[in-house]
């Protein structure tokens, strides 16, 4: 009697329900240009680069745009620790825009006229 393995449970929405408390949604602004302040922390915070790094980006900018802006301003090796071989964010590089975590580069970033982008590499490997 070959019981199909997922027969026991199908169509459960348990894991797709949205968590009750979401950080306050930020109304997408339409002000043309948004001045973006980028705060690199930890190993990214190179003493030679003054913090925050000011960028001017168009409305509905994505993280990719921020990355390209940083590359232009601080050079390619600045991104060395942030991206993996395929140009994607490595798992332990965390980016927050106005306190909300952004995970994918192509995701448009909702923000008001001004946006604070915090980038940090959590680099520790753990064990034990």
């Amino acid at each position: 009697m070959e019981v199909r393995w997922d027969a026991a449970v199908s169509g459960s929405r348990f894991w797709s329900e949205q968590p009750p408390v979401e950080p306050p949604m930020i109304a997408a602004s339409n002000h043309g240009w948004i001045d973006v302040r980028v705060w690199p922390f930890g190993i990214l915070a190179d003493s030679r680069i003054e913090r925050p790094i000011m960028l001017e980006l168009g409305d509905g900018f994505t993280l990719r745009d921020v990355i390209n802006g940083l590359e232009a301003r601080c050079g390619a090796e600045f991104l060395d620790g942030m991206l993996d071989g395929k140009g994607e964010l490595i798992s332990h590089c965390r980016v927050f825009v106005d306190g909300r975590m952004i995970e994918r580069l192509e995701q448009p970033v909702p923000s008001g006229p001004q946006a604070d982008v915090e980038i940090i590499l959590l680099v520790a490997t753990e064990g034990g």
């Binding site: 070959e2 449970v9 949205q18 071989g85 940090i120 680099v123 490997t125 753990e126 064990g127 034990g128």
Partner: protein, 863 residues
């Protein structure tokens, strides 16, 4: 009725304070009884899920560690610049301001020069030390973080593969429903380990209910002692036994859970002659053979039931087979007869065990739990420290977990569970919420992890920037190269652009917990500056320049004494539980809590903004509970923010101090999440093929040969160095194990525990087989030398016993202190790790776990 004004209500001080133990990393919940300012009793907290109102022997003895007069009370500065094993540091008492300002100057200089020159290292015993030290390292900007011996010996295999296959830090049988649990080098509820006290109760209930417990172990003194059947085997040959059993299940009995393999593993993925997935040209997704359409199509577009598991096909112009077929053929060579020759477990037993395991699995059955119908596989093959402490670390553990995967016994009712791999979080806030997800190949990525790197998908191997070379050996977690004898040679070969200069150590006694003390000593002598947080002067703090007196757990506050749930919250149904740790008694002398010292240090180094950002990132703090700018928050304030972030504004630190913990009911969909989450577990590790090529491409030209057999997609038995030693007279495989009464090298200083260990038949002894011992003219209690091939020697007393494999030599715990800072511990037990060579040749080339078994010779000590 008016109550007396506070100052008149001179109620005698008599309080039961809910907090968390810290005698081992289990951090069970405690109630500490304080009478007139003195802690007079520590009991379990019946309210808490972690320990369920009970404590093991260590937990109740915490009082005598807290009140140990040998504890440090003042910061110490070294006056003798020379460092070495016998060198007296010449300690001078200094003030905290002197200590921290000097340390801050050193750190500022290093951070300017190259932050990666700082190595941060912590003991695994204090779970609450994880986040403060990881965030300090991240804020400072160094990737060089280590959990010393606790990580190096115990976990690169266990945690890595529990993460890849069960999305958790460790695996445990679902005791409430399991009928047949097979232990490979693990105690799970019989000695130590994750959630050990809770597991003790759960395992005992299961055994009383009739769960059969088959324990595969060279020694039967904990789980083996209570086993329905003890299966002794030659040390380090777990994979041989497990693969032979898998062969019997697949090829002789044909008892496998095909629907599970089709729906929840990468068994159907087609594998080409180059051992890699055959991928759809456009979508790049791995192809499967759709038996309905009789064509190869991307896995995401085929119904699981129609996916072929066996047979040979053509796709994209190449001959290919489903991964399961590769496994099925791969297993053929692991005959039970071969298994017996390697592991000494009789072939007929191997066949019987495999048949029992496959039959008990009740493949295809379901069960109702809390009104939810779920797959029911009441068998579990679990492994832990003993199993993966070998050269063959990855495959020893992977082979055991294969047994679960073949019968579908993975994170379903009664089966092998990861510790809480998925949680929807506290109902009111939905935090902390984590659930495994699928990568683009459909393979499982763990939802929560102890470190910030994830076990899968592994990072791209590259020219290493980490001193531990984990960014080259991407399966490695804790690395031997921070202390190995060949560290300099390897750093040069891989052009690591810097060298370690400063070490911040938190409580780890790596002189005793990693390998030969002489080798570790040399690695410590290379540091320019070492600062060590300690409770006592240990053999390691003798190498420090500054020693900082840490507060004890009864004087500390931590909002995450048990975080995360994958670490030491008991698995299986029941309740989620978030206990905290709070002060029971005030600080005395000039002891300070490490968490607050780190904040002070961050201010002095001028990186408070970075630290705040690191805390935000690692604690996933959401507005309005994020740390702002470079405000100098105190640690209790950070704890308060995290608790409110997870449980709502009215449940901050004060609320938790009063209630001690918060708990809420687990849902069946959380505990048995596999049917609800569309992720596949890699039964065939295809990523190892490209990983080896990239690693070897970097290593081979630099003269470091990476044996390809350690990166084959399917597990195999690969011998340890000890198995290759043929020298005459060396006829014992020495191994060491966790004692139920001791934690690493820490608790021998606790007089109650030391007293109990003195009376224990095995704790401070070298256990060898009674007949074998007598034949060699050894008698019980005799003082002997245990000597490795390389001439490393330790002294110990013999215990003749029937409860060990004839070739085995079992030593308990991490004992054998020689330092004067822990007088009660001094000279107690056997210093096993002195026998361990520490170099690339003695670690798994796959996950860098140290090989913990040694071929030794035993000779009487001439008295």
């Amino acid at each position: 009725m008016n109550t007396a004004a506070p100052e008149f209500a001179v109620a005698a001080d008599d309080a039961w304070v809910p907090s968390s133990c810290s005698l081992c990393y289990g951090s069970c919940s405690i109630l500490a009884h304080r009478v007139d300012g003195v802690v007079v009793k520590i009991e379990g907290n019946p309210e808490s899920v972690v320990g369920k109102g009970k404590l093991c022997g260590k937990g109740v003895s915490g009082i005598m560690t807290h009140y140990d007069p040998n504890r440090l009370t003042k910061p110490l500065r070294r006056t003798n610049p020379k460092k070495g094993l016998g060198e007296d540091p010449g300690w001078k008492e200094i003030s905290w301001d002197e200590a921290l300002s000097e340390l801050a100057e050193v750190l500022k200089k290093v951070r300017q020069d190259d932050p990666r020159k700082l190595v941060v290292q912590r003991t695994t015993t204090v779970t609450a030390g994880r986040t403060p030290f990881q965030t300090f390292a991240a804020a400072f900007g160094t990737p060089n973080f280590s959990v010393s011996g606790g990580g190096q010996h115990c976990g690169n295999g266990a945690h890595l593969i529990s993460g890849i296959m069960h999305a958790s830090w460790s695996v445990v049988p679902d005791f409430a429903y399991c009928n047949y649990a097979m232990y490979f080098g693990a105690s799970k509820g019989h000695a130590a380990g994750h959630a050990s006290c809770s597991n003790m109760g759960l395992a005992a209930d299961a055994r009383a209910r009739g769960m059969k417990m088959v324990v595969v172990d060279p020694m039967a003194n904990f789980a083996g002692a209570k086993a329905t059947e003890w299966v002794p085997l030659r040390v380090g040959t777990d994979a041989a036994l497990a693969m032979s059993m898998a062969n019997v299940m697949v090829n002789e009995l044909g008892m496998v859970d095909r629907p599970y393999l089709q729906a929840r593993t990468n068994s159907p993925y087609l594998i080409g002659p180059d051992k890699r997935y055959v991928r759809d040209p456009e979508s790049k997704k791995p192809l499967v053979w759709d038996t309905a359409a009789n064509a190869a199509r991307p896995f995401s577009e085929v119904a699981a039931a129609d996916m072929a598991l066996e047979g040979e096909f053509f796709a994209n112009g190449v001959k290919c087979q489903p991964a399961f077929m590769k496994l099925k053929e791969h297993l053929l060579k692991f005959t039970p007869e071969w298994g017996e020759s390697v592991s000494t477990v009789p072939a007929k037993n191997i066949r019987r065990l495999a048949c029992e395991f496959a039959t008990e699995a009740r493949i295809g059955s379901t069960i109702m739990v809390d009104g939810v119908t779920l797959p029911y596989r009441p068998v579990a093959a679990v492994a832990f420290r003993g199993n993966q402490g070998h050269m063959n670390s990855t495959y020893n553990f992977f082979a055991v977990d294969l047994l679960n995967q073949l019968v579908g016994a993975a994170d379903v009712v009664g089966s092998c569970l990861g510790f809480n791999p998925a949680s929807k979080g506290f109902p009111e806030t939905g935090r902390p919420r984590y659930v495994p997800t699928a990568d683009e190949d459909g393979l499982m990525v763990t939802g929560m992890w102890m470190g910030y790197h994830y076990p899968y998908p592994a990072a791209e191997p590259r020219m290493p920037k980490n001193l531990g070379l984990q960014d080259l050996f991407v399966m490695g977690m804790t690395s031997p190269f921070l202390n190995s004898i060949d560290q300099e040679e390897l750093w040069q070969k891989f052009e690591v652009p810097y060298r370690p200069e400063v070490l911040i150590n938190f409580g780890a006694n790596l002189m005793m917990s990693i390998g030969t003390s002489e080798v570790v000593a040399k690695s410590l002598e290379r540091y320019k500056f070492i600062a060590s947080f300690d409770l006592f002067l240990t053999e390691t703090s003798q190498f420090a320049d500054i020693v900082l007196p840490d507060a004890s757990y009864l004087q500390s506050t931590d909002s995450r004494s048990n975080f995360p749930f994958i670490f030491s919250l008991p698995g299986g149904m029941g309740e989620w539980c978030w206990p905290i740790r709070q002060e029971v008694v005030p600080l005395d002398g000039e002891q300070r809590r490490f968490s607050e010292v780190l904040l002070d240090l961050a201010d002095r180094v001028g990186m408070r903004a970075d630290l705040n950002a690191a805390y935000n990132a690692s604690m996933n703090l959401q507005t309005p509970y994020r740390l702002e700018g470079d405000n100098a928050y105190t640690f209790p304030e950070i704890c308060d923010l995290e608790l409110k972030n997870n449980f709502g504004p009215e449940r901050g630190l004060e609320w938790f101090k009063e209630h001690g913990l918060i708990k809420w009911k687990k849902q069946p969909e959380e505990v048995y999440w596999r049917p609800f989450v569309d992720v596949r577990v890699p039964v065939y590790w295809e990523f190892m093929v490209s990983m080896w090529e990239k690693i070897n491409a970097i290593c081979e030209p630099r003269g470091v040969k990476i044996p390809q057999e350690y990166y084959d997609p399917l597990p195999d038995f690969l011998p340890c160095r000890s198995h290759l030693c043929q020298k005459s007279g060396f006829d014992f495989y020495a191994f060491y194990y966790r004692d139920t009464i001791h934690t690493n090298s820490f608790t021998m200083e606790n007089p109650w525990l030391d007293e109990a260990a003195e009376l224990d038949p095995f704790s401070y002894y070298v256990a060898i087989h009674a007949e074998v011992g007598k034949k060699k003219g050894l008698h019980d209690g005799q003082l002997v030398w245990v000597e490795s091939e390389a001439g490393r020697k330790v002294k110990g007393r013999i215990r003749l016993t029937q409860a060990v494999h004839p070739e085995g030599l079992g030593i308990a715990a991490c004992a054998g202190h020689w330092g004067k800072g822990m007088p009660v511990a001094r000279g107690k037990g056997v210093f096993f790790n002195e026998l361990l060579e520490l170099d690339f040749d003695h670690v798994s080339p796959n996950n860098l776990n140290l090989d913990l078994c040694v071929k030794v010779r035993v000779t009487p000590v001439e008295v």
